[in-house]
């Protein structure tokens, strides 16, 4: 745990990813007076309200005006501040898309963008509030770093790492009801360095965000039920991508299944596919995610099941790739 931090693992396990991030940011605010926080009428929803309470003079609610918020953050960074801004992932990546690209990434300014309620986590909010394109959009911007913490603990680790990270950074967290993967803060988190959650030799599942826990549990069940050895990689950083971990997995397991709460186009699966194709390694690849459609309405758990990015969907995908017969009850739909 970083020195001077006021939280422990028990605190973090009870917090959502956004809350954990907010809590760490409040601590960092003591040490870094140049940290400023902005939101667009979502201080409560994005959980940065704790920073607003702790440092009202360094917190700016910009109202329902995301474009202005993003560029205002750029202006603050130009004058030496470390701005952290938060809004829903769909608005950060799309409503203020050009501002992120042109005002933050192009001049390479030190702005951290937290997209909350990412993926399908807005559930019955529907397509307008789902964000299944943000990773593809953000990773196409030069100078941008893109991170998807797996849970609150990893979000806290990212918060710590982000403060000394120079340049633009986008990360996404869910709405906040996602169960944690990690049960300890005591692991090495590095932006750009994938983490192996389980060793395995038959196939590798590369997941990010909320799908990591699902992949870990699917791997355990597959080992028990089908005697399959599944490697699970938490690819928390989508850019810069840990290509070494991908190519090693390709070489050692020959099969890769990617799982993400995102369109299968352009996100984690797309990035892994690019890496494999360019390296020219023989490897079977399957991408799980939202299959290039606008998402339907339902609770997140229902949507994860519908799009096959939870335990059963991952098990089914693994079995298909390993030519293991799939039972009807494995059928997610």
């Amino acid at each position: 745990m970083a020195g001077g931090m006021s939280y422990n693992i028990d605190d973090l396990q009870d917090l959502t990813a956004a809350e954990a991030y907010g809590k760490v940011l409040v601590d960092l605010g003591k040490e870094y007076p140049e940290i400023v926080v902005l939101t667009a009428d979502l201080a409560k929803s994005t959980k940065l309200g704790v920073f607003f309470n702790a440092y009202p003079e360094r917190s700016f609610n910009m109202g329902i005006a995301e474009q202005n918020m993003v560029t205002t953050a750029a202006g603050l960074a130009l004058a030496g501040k470390k701005p952290y801004l938060s809004t829903f992932a769909c608005f950060a990546s799309m409503r203020a898309c050009e501002q992120v690209r042109t005002d933050i990434c192009y001049p390479k300014l030190n702005v951290k963008i937290m997209g909350t309620h990412s993926g399908l986590s807005m559930g019955n909010g529907g397509t307008t509030h789902h964000a299944t394109e943000d990773l593809a959009i953000m990773r196409s911007f030069a100078n941008m770093t893109v991170v998807v913490p797996a849970d609150g603990i990893e979000a806290a680790k990212l918060a710590q790492a982000s403060v000394e990270h120079n340049g633009p950074l986008y990360f996404r967290v869910g709405r906040g009801f996602e169960p944690p993967v990690y049960d300890t803060m005591d692991y090495d988190f590095q932006i750009g360095k994938a983490r192996t959650m389980a060793e395995g030799s038959d196939i590798t599942v590369i997941a990010c965000g909320v799908c990591v826990l699902q992949a870990v549990e699917a791997a355990e069940e597959l080992a028990d039920e089908n005697d399959v050895s599944v490697r699970v990689i938490n690819m928390h950083t989508i850019k810069p991508l840990d290509t070494e971990a991908i190519l090693q997995a390709a070489e050692e397991t020959g099969k890769i299944l990617t799982v993400e709460e995102h369109n299968i186009v352009g996100g984690l699966g797309g990035a892994v596919a690019e890496t494999l194709a360019e390296a020219g390694v023989p490897c079977k690849l399957k991408r799980l995610g939202v299959p290039d459609v606008f998402s339907v309405i339902g609770y997140p758990e229902e949507l994860h099941r519908y799009y096959g990015i939870e335990i059963d969907g991952i098990k089914k995908g693994v079995k298909q790739m390993l030519d293991i017969p799939v039972d009807d009850e494995d059928d997610a739909h």
């Binding site: 202005n68 202006g75 001049p107």
Partner: protein, 283 residues
């Protein structure tokens, strides 16, 4: 601190007027070098930029990143061919650096890049962004209890962009008297007269309705620019200030003045000669 040491008012006005003639000639020549440029809107904002950089702003061209400097954000970023001669003349870089303007791998192009051109405080080009940058700068200066200002030069057509008004709303909300908007109201956008394409009137009333202290002046009058900019409310005042500068597109060149088609254009030898002669007559 002004870049000159002239104390006599008349001398100052005459110095700045002459500067504008020199700068306009540089703009025309740069447009030729560049193989074309946004010359109309460059010539319309010359007095604004010359008065700001030569006399009003606290800057140090030998130390372009001086922390307590005044900032200027060229929100009408297509004015690259208009601002670079002003920065060059102020001493940020030698004229020879602009020799390859617009050419392959040149640091200088249509829209200025803060990481490549000394004196440029922010990379701009896409319209409607600059005033939000100034809001961020203004907030940062407030947090640092600093007394520098953030000047923003906008086009009038640019004010069609909704984000300009998001920024205007927030500058007033955060009481940023250290943010100064200057609108180069040359009355033309690419497709024609602003009032025909997308009307912005009543323009002064709009800024006032957004809570800005608003004045309208002749943007080609050195005297009016000096009077207005020397008498701004102090940076710690609570109201952002907008100066609407009535200007003429293509100012100083007979065949360009008030001609929408000279929003962007190139000049052959004959036109260049004519333009330089026209400008010299304004001395």
């Amino acid at each position: 601190m002004p870049l000159h040491n002239i104390s006599n008012r008349q001398e100052l006005v005459s110095f700045l007027k002459n500067k504008c003639v020199d700068i306009r000639k540089m703009i025309v020549q740069l447009t030729v070098t560049a193989g074309g440029g946004h010359v109309g809107g460059a010539l319309s904002m010359t007095e604004m930029l010359v008065v700001l950089y030569q006399h009003i702003m606290n800057i140090e061209p030998s130390n372009p990143k001086k922390p307590d400097r005044d900032r200027l954000i060229l929100s009408k970023g297509h004015g690259g061919v208009g601002i670079c001669p002003v920065l060059c003349d102020a001493g940020y870089f030698p004229k020879s650096e602009m020799d390859g303007f617009n050419q392959f791998l040149s640091p200088f192009g249509m829209h200025p890049d803060m990481n490549k051109v000394k004196g440029i405080d922010m990379s701009t080009g896409s319209l409607g962004h600059g005033l939000s940058i100034c809001v961020g700068l203004g907030l940062a200066a407030r947090l640092d209890k600093a007394s520098w200002r953030a000047f923003c030069v906008l086009g009038d057509g640019e004010c069609n962009e909704g984000s300009v008004w998001e920024a205007a709303m927030s500058a007033k909300h955060y009481k940023l008297g250290n943010v100064i908007a200057l609108v180069d109201k040359n009355k033309f956008m690419i497709d024609g007269p602003v009032e025909q394409i997308m009307s912005i009137e009543p323009f002064e009333e709009k800024w006032k309705a957004f809570g800005w202290k608003t004045t309208v002046i002749d943007g080609h009058s050195i005297e009016q620019l000096l009077d207005t900019l020397e008498n701004l409310d102090p940076p710690d005042s609570q109201t952002p200030q907008c100066i609407i500068c009535n200007t003429v597109k293509g100012r100083g060149v007979s065949f360009m003045e008030g001609q929408g088609k000279w929003h962007y254009g190139g000049l052959d030898e004959l036109l260049e000669k004519q333009a330089l002669e026209d400008i010299e007559k304004t001395r």
